[in-house]
Structures are given as C-alpha cells and as structure tokens.
Amino acid sequence: MFSNRGRRTAAIVAALTATVVLTACGAKTTDSATAGGAGAAIDTSGSAIKVGLLNSLSGTMAISEVTVKNSLLLAVEEINAAGGVLGKKIEPISEDGASDWPTFAEKSQKLISEDKVAAVFGCWTSASRKAVLPVFEKNKSLLFYPVQYEGLEQSPYIFYTGATTNQQIVPGLDYLKAQGKTSVYLVGSDYVFPRTANKIIKAYAEANGMKVLGEDYAPLGSTEFSTIVNKVKAAGAAAVFNTLNGDSNVAFFKEYKAAGLTAGGMPVVSVSIAEEEVKSIGTQYLAGQLTAWNYYQTTEGAANEKFVKAYKAKYGEDKPTSDPMEAAYVSVYLWKAMVEKAGSFDVEKVKAAAGGITFDAPEGKVTVDGTTQHISKTARIGRIGDDGLITEVWNSGQAITPDPYLKGYPWASGLS
C-alpha cells in the first residue's frame, strides 16, 4: 500500500527505531549500584533559595488544599521578614496538583529537576502522597507532608508533620472507651485512609472489648446517605467513628440529624472535619459532635495567638485556622531549623540534622523524631460549638511520640 517513497521512509524509520532501541540499554534492576544515582541537585547559587509548594489549586481537593498553601506562604513570608534561611530569602514556587495523582507526580518531578528546589511542601490525600513518594525517593529530594494520615509508612525522603494513627485515631478511641462507650459504628469514604483507619480501629476494638456494629463506605463525593444512616440507627451503637471526607460530610450530617440522631445520644467522632469544613457543613448540623485532631484555632498559647492573628491579618477575619494548616506552617519552620542546624541545604545533611529538633508550634512544643521522620504531637479531642469553633474537651497531657507502624501496641501486631 505504501508508495515507493513511502516504503523507503518506512524502512528508514524502522532502522532508526531498531538502532536507537538496541543501543540504549541502561541499568538492570539487579545492578543496585546505579539505581538512583547522586542526590538531588539543589540550586543554591542565587541570593534566594527555592522551595516548592505542591497543592491542589483546582479540582475536588482545592477547597482544603488552598488553605494549606496560604498557610505555607504565611510561614515563608514570616521567615523572609526575619532574614530568611542561612542568609537566603525563600522563593516559593507553587504548582497545582489538580486533585489528580499522576499530576502530583509530574509536578513534583518538575519542581525537583527544573526548579531544583531545596524541599517541597504539600500533598493532602494519601493517594497523592503515594504517587509522589517514588519521585522523591528516586531523586533523593525532600517532601514535607502536613496532613494526618493512616500511618504504616516511613519514607526516608518524607517528613510527616501531621498526625499518624497513634496520635489521632488511637487517642480518639481511648477517649470513647474512657467515656464508657462499648460499641462503635464505622462510616467512611471509600479510599485508602478510611479503610486503613478502620482496620486499625477494628483491631483496637477487639483488644479493648469494644464492639464494631457495622462498617460502611460511600464513594468519595457521594451525597446519598439515607441507607447508611438507617443502618447506623438500627444498629444502635454507642458512638459513630466518621472518616468521611469532603462534601459527603454535609449530606451525612443532614441525614443524621433528620433521622433524629443527636450528639447526646450517639456522638460522632470525626477525624477529617476541621474548622474550614465546619463552616461549609453548617454548625446547626454539627454542634455538639466530636473531632479528634492535634490543634484547634482555640488551642491556648502565645504561639497560637500569634499564628491566628497573623493568618487573619493576611487572609481576612472570617478565615479560620485548622490542624492541617498549622502542620503546614510548622513544617516550613522545622525545615528552616533543620537547615540551620545542618548549616547546609544538602538533603542528606538536613536529614541527619533533623532528629531532636524542637519548635514552639501553635499546637505546643513539637519534636522531630529522627528515626521515623514524624513529629511528636499532643492529641486533642474537641467539641464543635454553635459558633463553628472547636473547643478542646480532652488532651493527652503531653506530646505523643510518633509510632507509624504501631509497634508499641500489642493489639496492632497483625496489621503490617
């Protein structure tokens, strides 16, 4: 079918392809020496040092992640006003992860290889973190991840400044147990965090004589909850443990109230509802319900007063601060402290300097654990008030050492 000329072209193309493919054979998976190569090249030449901010600025996660970006920018601004890091101003480069996991991977690679950033701050969902993890490990570059998550992970190139399960979910369960609640019903969105969290909750419940009366998942973004709420009501559990994310909470709590269930009769403990989400769900549906976090806007202390005041001055009086925002703010300061202790932006030196670094964070004093690269945090159970703010009803008294694989909990031995 090809004309003569076409035949010739086709032959040339075929030959070209063959040569290129045959000659270009790189390292095999078995030769471990070549894998990864040298560490990330960081551009330290100018008077400024670049860092990447990787958040979803569009798509379903934008509502939450934009607040994290704002908080990161606030920290950068404050540090620059105080003279920067090692005499260099921080130059933030923002990229949009677009709530799409392969895009997160693409953008993190861009920040590392094109912008040659010293560190990247951001990601929210576990799926986005799992997508970028190989990119950071491959390039030996740093990610600071600011959101509570399901644990069972410890990448050498990620610092986790949000809570792992033993700093949020386990204290939440301890609180319910102390309140005499002997049965729970689990409701969550259908993705990795709720499913893993519920696995941990079930193991805890079994060891602590608590009954799990049911476990239901709704697709992310689902707004149909009449069936689930009816099942919850019929089960008659003492409390509900809620790992729903985003908009689904609005529909769930409306349905919950419509079914006649109350915070007094069957309280809901939520782990993904912070001040920003309370605002969008509506306090009339949430007042009296419980949350488990490490920080609230109302948390006492001079550091928090300063943080809240600075945030509101920059972004508006009506803008609340929340746990992930605080963890993001803290992550920039921790990175600064690590770099200054190391006296270098070099990733390996920064990592080596990380252990034992402390910071007077808005949530209280936090310490970086050098082994797990998580930070110690105080667990706080809060009650949502009529004004949309969350007030603390219980706290762990002291900062809890991070234990991402729950090694210190005998009941969790079968989990990982």
Binding site: M1, F2, S3, R5, G6, T9, A10, I12, V13, L16, T17, V20, V21, A24, C25, G26, A27, K28, T29, T30, D31, T34, A35, G36, L57, S58, S94, E95, D96, A98, D100, W101, P102, T103, A105, E106, K107, Q109, K110, S113, E114, T125, S126, A127, K130, A131, L133, P134, V135, K138, L152, D190, Y191, V192, R195, T196, Y217, P219, L220, S416
Partner: protein, 360 residues
C-alpha cells in the same frame, strides 16, 4: 497522488521529530512528559478512527486504557516483588495470605504483554456485539460507554486490597528487568512509546485508505443506506471499535513505565472526556489531527498550569472552546481554511459547504 504522498511525508517528518529532534532538544524531564503525551496520542488515534471515521462517540476509552494499564502494572508489580512474593500494597492493605487467582497469570511476561492489547480488544468485541447488533448508537452509545468506565473505576476503588484502591498501582521500579530510575532506560521507554505511536498511525492509515475505511465512513454518514447495499453496519463498526480499544489498551500499557503509576484517576469519566477533547481540538476525521490535538492539549495543560497554577483551568477551558467554535474541523483543518481564505477567488465569497469533509 498528492493525497497519497502527503501522509507519507508527514509520517517521515513525524519520525524525524520524534526520534531525532525531540531527544536532542528536550531534557530528561521534558522527554518523560512527551512520552506521556504520546501515550494520549495513541488513544486519540483510536478515537479518531471510531468517532471521526465511524461516528461512534466513544466517551469511555478510559476503560480500555485502564485495562491495558492495569495489566501491565500488575506484571511490573509482580516482577518488582520477585518470584513467589506479593506486591507491597497487598501486604499493607489486604488481609490476604496468597496472591488472588486473577493476579497469578500476570506474573508471566508474555501473558501480561498480550493481555494489555488483547484484553481490551476482547472486551470491546463482546460489548460491541451486544451494542451494535441492537443498533444502539448516538447519545445512547456515548452514555453506555461512559457508564462502563465509571463502573470500572468504582470497582477498582472498592477492591483496595487487591487493586490498590484510589492509590492505584504506584512505585513501579523496573520494566522487564531494566531499572526505570535510570535516565537511559527512561529514554528507551520514550523511544518505545514513539515507535508504538508511529506503528499505530501507519496501521490506522492503512485502515482508513482501504475499502474498509470507505465503508466505515459510509456507515457513519448513512447507516441505513449501507445496510440496503447488503453490508452489515454492525460488523463494520465493530472492527473500528475493537481497533480503538486495542490502541487505548496499548497506550495504557505504555503509560505505566512512562509515568510510573496507574490509578482509577486515569480511568473514570473525566479522563475519558479529556481524551475526546484532544481529538476534537485536533480534528477528529483526519489521521494526524487526533494525535496532534492530544499532544497539544496535554502540552497546553502542563504549560498553562506551570505558568499560572491558580487560574490555568480557565485558560484551558478557553482553549477547548475556541477551536471548536471557530474551527469545527479541528486544528487539522486550519491549513485548508487559511488556503481558502487567502485565495483571491470567488471561493472566499461562497460560505464553506456545510459538510466539509477533511481529507487525509
């Protein structure tokens, strides 16, 4: 003769650009991105065939892309884990003692490789037989194909222990024994993708120029008439649909080593629509239009989101609307339009015929 020569020249130029200019002009990172765009272009060529030539608005190519992608990723995950071992995420999320039965055959590289293309084609064949024999077409066909990929994405998310759920299959280290972290090997992956695109283009060109191609266009423009001529339109459409599915599966399979991840985010309704947008922008009825459109749209997405991270989606939307409003034939018809406008003859005065067929 002129018509014949043009695609050949285009083919040669494309080969030189892909194999000569691009690797020299682009850094490692940009070349990786181009490999990703070329995967989308392979899907687009298939959509061009099924939609542009066959009139079937395939809004669910993400389904076939996903089948191919998961088939490849499952094999690579098993290869990473080593013989007899389970992939890392299964140990983390699943409560399984051994590999599920439907994972096992993918340990065989030959099975996995052929499954990436044959599995989507076989599924498309079954679906196509049901759909086309019952004369489902138009909007109903589009809705059906979309429902299919939505259902597939939900299924994958629900089975976290065995499919990785929303995370998908990530952290893929090797590609048939070659370390994907090595830039040399990543470059090889790019060449494989580029060669696959050229092969798919050549195949589609042959299909379009053959008697079958004529028949396909005839079915698009007047299905009943073709039926009265004694052909069975269902079979004609089936071939294009199955071919498009095979191409989407191949693209999905190549996407995995090129990007290193496959997840339900690449399969659902939105990515499936994005595939079609690229085709519409490029010009659905031509050979190169869909491929160029897909590359252009993917490139624009990257470029715009790097320049204006907080407002790029508006520009992207504008970019979709403008060509479709002002260039219904897509970018591929741009040259023709300019030629018509610049010719100082009566052609300028007479409005373009309502049904300008874009020739290739």
């Amino acid at each position: 003769m002129r018509l014949l020569r043009k695609p050949v020249t285009g083919f040669a130029i494309g080969a030189v650009l892909l194999f000569g200019v691009a690797p020299l002009a682009l850094g490692d990172f940009r070349l990786d991105l181009l490999a990703k765009y070329l995967c989308f272009a392979i899907v687009a060529v298939g959509i061009g065939l099924a939609w542009g030539r066959g009139g079937m608005l395939t809004l669910g190519q993400g389904f076939f892309f996903g089948l191919g992608g998961y088939a490849m990723a499952m094999h690579l995950k098993l290869a990473d884990a080593g013989p007899g071992q389970m992939p890392d995420f299964m140990l983390l999320y699943g409560q399984l003692d051994e590999l599920p039965w439907w994972w096992r055959p993918f340990a065989n590289p030959l099975f996995a490789l052929s499954a990436t293309v044959l599995l989507p084609m076989f599924t498309a064949l079954l679906l196509g037989l049901l759909i086309f024999r019952r004369k489902v077409r138009g909007a109903y066909f589009a809705i059906l194909s979309q429902a299919l990929c939505a259902a597939f994405a939900i299924l994958l998310i629900g089975q976290q222990g065995t499919t990785g759920g929303t995370n998908g299959l990530t952290n893929i280290q090797g590609f048939f024994g070659y370390d994907l972290n090595d830039p040399v090997n990543r470059r090889t992956v790019y060449f494989i993708v580029a060669a696959a695109l050229l092969a798919v283009l050549a195949l589609t060109w042959q299909l379009m120029r053959s008697r079958y191609g004529e028949l396909l266009v005839a079915v698009r423009d007047g299905e009943e008439r073709v039926r009265f001529l004694g052909y069975d339109p269902a079979n004609v459409k089936l071939v294009a649909y199955v071919a498009a599915a095979g191409m989407a599966g191949l693209a999905g399979a190549l996407f995995v080593p090129a990007v290193g991840i496959v997840s339900p985010a690449m399969i659902g309704v939105v990515p499936s629509i994005e595939f079609v947008i690229g085709v519409a922008v490029g010009g659905r009825a031509s050979l190169l239009g869909p491929a160029l459109g897909a590359i252009a749209v993917a490139w624009a997405k990257t470029a715009l989101s790097e320049r204006v991270p907080s407002a790029w989606t508006y520009f992207e939307g504008l970019l979709f609307i403008l060509p479709i409003v002002f260039l219904p034939g897509g970018l591929a018809s741009l040259a023709g339009t300019i030629r018509r406008r610049s010719r100082p003859s009566a052609v300028v005065e007479t409005p373009a015929p309502a049904k300008v067929e874009v020739t290739t």
